[in-house]
C-alpha cells in the first residue's frame, strides 16, 4: 500500500495585479514538487500541493489559512506574495504550529511578527525590504552619485513599509528625499506626483509599488518629457511593468535574487525545464525571482522533512532551524539557512542589480554578470 502523500499548502495571488509574481511562484513550486516526486518523494511519500488563490486580499488569505489547517490538514505552507496577506494569515499557522515558508513577500517585519512568542514558525527565502532599501540607496546615492532623490510609494502596506525602510536608509547616508509621494492602486494619472518630484529637482525616482502603477509612473514621465532613472524595489522586474511601460521602462533598476540567465548548470536546468513546461510568452519568465524562490522553498522544506523524519510541525521547524545538509537551490546554496533567531535565508550579499532592457531583465553591472557563475552564499 502506498504511503499517504505529504500535503503542502501553496498560497499566492494567481489573479489580479500581483499575479505575475504569484503564478510564477506557483509554477516554480510545481516544478520542484514534480522533480522530487519523480525521484521517489520524501521518505517514500509523494508531495501533494494544495494550491489556493488569495487574490492578493487579506481576508481571502485568512480564509485559506483556516481551510489549510482545519480541512486540508497541510503539514507546511509555502507562498505569500503580498506582505499584507502574509501578516494577516500567519497568526493561524503560528497557533497551529505549522511552519510557513514565505518565498516572495518582502515586508521586513514578516519573520519578526512573533518575536515575542517562544517559538516562531515563520521562515522566509526572499530578500526582505531592509536588505533591498539600503541596496537601492547604495545604487542611487553611492554608485551613481544622486544627491536629490524622490520617493514614490503606493498606499498599501507594502509601499508604505518600504517607504519607511527607504527613508531610514537615506537618512543613514545623511540624505532627506526632496519629495515623498503616494499613489493608490489603479491610479491612472501620476502627473501631480511626478511634477512635484521634478520641481523639487529630483535626479532619480525611487519606487515602492507593483507593476501596473509603476508602469503608469514610467508612462507619466514620458508624457512630461522628464527622464530620470527609476530605481526601486524588485517589483520593477514584474512582467506587467515591463510590458506596460514599454520603452519608458528601459533602464529601470532593481535588486534581484535571480535573473533568468543560465549561469550555473543547476540554473540552466531550472530555466530550461521551466520554459519547456510552462511555455511563457517570448520564453521570458513573468517573474524569475518568484519562480526561483518558489522552487527553492520546496527543496528547503523537503530537506527539513527528510531530516525530521516526520511531518509534525514542531519537528519540521526544528529541522529547518538546524539543517544538517546543504540544499543546492537556484538562488543560492543554502548552508544552514536558518537558525533559532534568524529565519531569513537571504542576506544582503546575495541579491544583485537587474536592469530592464528590451523587455527583459538583465544584469545591470558587468562585474555581476562576470561573477554570476559563482554562487553567492549567505553570510
Amino acid at each position: 500500500m502506498a504511503a499517504d502523500p505529504i500535503k503542502i499548502g501553496v498560497d499566492g495571488p494567481f489573479t489580479g495585479g500581483s499575479s505575475s509574481m504569484g503564478v510564477s511562484m506557483r509554477d516554480g513550486v510545481r516544478l520542484a514538487a514534480e522533480e522530487i516526486n519523480k525521484s521517489g518523494g520524501v521518505m517514500g511519500r509523494q508531495i501533494q500541493l494544495v494550491e489556493r488563490d488569495d487574490e492578493g486580499k487579506n481576508e481571502r488569505g485568512v480564509q485559506i489559512a483556516q481551510e489549510f489547517i482545519n480541512k486540508e490538514k497541510v503539514v507546511a505552507v509555502v507562498g505569500y506574495i503580498n506582505t499584507g496577506v502574509a501578516l494577516a494569515s500567519q497568526r493561524f499557522f503560528q497557533d497551529a504550529k505549522i511552519p510557513v515558508l514565505n518565498n516572495v513577500a518582502t515586508g521586513s517585519i514578516i519573520t519578526h511578527q512573533f518575536d515575542k512568542d517562544p517559538e516562531n514558525y515563520v521562515f522566509r527565502n526572499a530578500a526582505h525590504d531592509s536588505i533591498q532599501a539600503p541596496m537601492i540607496v547604495e545604487e542611487a546615492v553611492t554608485r551613481r552619485g544622486y544627491k536629490k532623490v524622490a520617493i514614490l510609494a503606493d498606499s498599501t502596506n507594502y509601499g508604505q513599509l518600504g517607504r519607511e525602510d527607504l527613508e531610514k536608509a537615506l537618512k543613514a547616508k545623511g540624505i532627506t528625499p526632496v519629495a515623498v509621494e503616494k499613489f493608490n492602486i489603479k491610479d491612472v494619472d501620476m502627473t501631480a506626483q511626478l511634477l512635484k518630484s521634478k520641481e523639487a529637482g529630483a535626479e532619480a525616482v525611487l519606487t515602492y509599488g507593483i507593476g501596473p502603477e509603476l508602469a503608469q509612473i514610467a508612462n507619466g514621465m514620458t508624457k512630461l518629457g522628464w527622464k530620470v532613472p527609476i530605481i526601486g524595489s524588485w517589483t520593477l522586474a514584474m512582467a506587467n511593468f515591463i510590458d506596460n511601460a514599454g520603452p519608458g521602462g528601459d533602464g529601470a533598476r532593481m535588486p534581484q535574487t535571480f535573473i533568468q540567465e543560465p549561469t550555473t548548470p543547476k540554473r540552466k536546468a531550472f530555466i530550461d525545464n521551466f520554459v519547456k513546461t510552462f511555455k511563457p510568452k517570448n520564453n521570458r519568465m513573468d517573474s524569475p525571482v518568484s519562480a526561483a524562490q518558489g522552487y527553492d522553498s520546496i527543496y528547503l522544506l523537503a530537506a527539513a522533512i527528510k531530516q525530521a523524519g516526520n511531518t509534525e510541525g514542531p519537528k519540521i521547524k526544528a529541522a529547518l532551524e538546524d539543517l544538517k545538509t546543504p540544499v543546492e537551490g537556484v538562488v543560492t546554496t543554502y548552508t544552514k539557512p536558518f537558525s533559532k533567531d534568524d529565519h531569513d535565508a537571504i542576506t544582503a550579499n546575495i541579491p544583485v542589480f537587474g536592469e530592464v532592457k528590451g523587455g527583459r531583465v538583465i544584469f545591470a553591472n558587468a562585474e555581476d554578470q562576470k561573477s554570476a557563475g559563482t554562487v553567492r552564499l549567505k553570510k
Binding site: T15, G16, G17, S19, S20, S155, E181, K182, F183, N184, K186, V188, D189, T191, A192, Q193, L195, K196, E199, G211, P212, A215, Q216, T222, K223, L224, G225, A239, N240, D243, N244, G246
Partner: protein
Amino acid sequence: MQILTQLIFSGIALGMIYAVIAFGYQLTFATSDTLNFGQGDALMLGALVGLTLVGLGVNYWLMIPIVCLFGAVQGAVVERIGVRPAIKIKSEFGWIMSTIALGIIFKNVAENVWGRDDLKFPSPLPESPLKFLNANVLPMEILVVGGALLMMLAVEFFNRKTIYGKAVVATFNDRDAAKLMGINTGLVITFSYALSSMTAAFAGVLIAPLTLTGATMGAVLGLKAFAVAIIGGLTSGMGIVVGGIILGIAETTTGFYLSTGYKDVPGLVLLLIVLAVRPAGLFGKTAIKKV
C-alpha cells in the same frame, strides 16, 4: 504658471475620462430613472473586446464601430434581463441589485476570458508628447477630450433634433403620458440602455491607451464617474462635462499643492457639498415628485 497649466491639462484629460463614463449614467437616468451600476464594467468589456480586435489585426479606427455595436448589444441585454423586470413590478430598487450583479458577472467572465492582469493597449497615435502653452500633452489625451465631446454632441443632437430623440425626451418627461401618446416606452428604455453601454464601450477603447486595460479597470473609474454624475447633475450633459473637469483638476492640483496622499479627498468633499446644497447637481433640474 507652467506647472499650473500642466496640472490643468492633465486634470482636463483625467476629468474627461470620468465624464465619458458618467455620460452613460445620465443616458439611462434620463429615460427610466434607473442607472446601470455596471457602467464601469461595460467600459471594461468594450476596452477588452477592442484590444482583442486590435490583436487580431483590425485597424484601431475600424475597430471602434464594431466595439460600439458590441456595447449596444451588451446594454440591451442588461436592460432586458436586469432592469425591465424591476420596472414592470414597479420595484424601486430591484434594478440596483440586478445591474450590480450583472456587472460582477461581466467582470468574472472577463477575468476568465482575458485573465486578471493589466494589459497594454497599443496607442493609435504617437506616444511622444506635444508642447502646448509650455505644457506637455499626449496626442491620445487630445483624442480623448475631442472624442468625448464629439460623442456627447452627437447624442445631444440626436435627442434634440430627431423624432426618435423626441421620443426619448418625452419618455423622460413623463413615461405614462408618452406611452399614452403611442410611444413604445419599453423600446425607448431598451434603446437608452443600449446607447449608454455603447458610449461606455466607446469610452473604453478611447481611454484604454492611456490607462491600462484589464478586467478590474472599470471599478475605480466607474466609481469616480458616478461622483462626477452626481456633482454635475444626472439630468444634464453639460453638467457631466463640467463635473468631470472639476473633479479631474481637483485631483491633480490637490495632489501637487496639498499632498498626493489626499488626492481623492477634495473630489469626494465636493460631492458631499453638492449633495447638501444642490442635491440635483450643479446643473441638474430639480423636479417635484408627486407621490
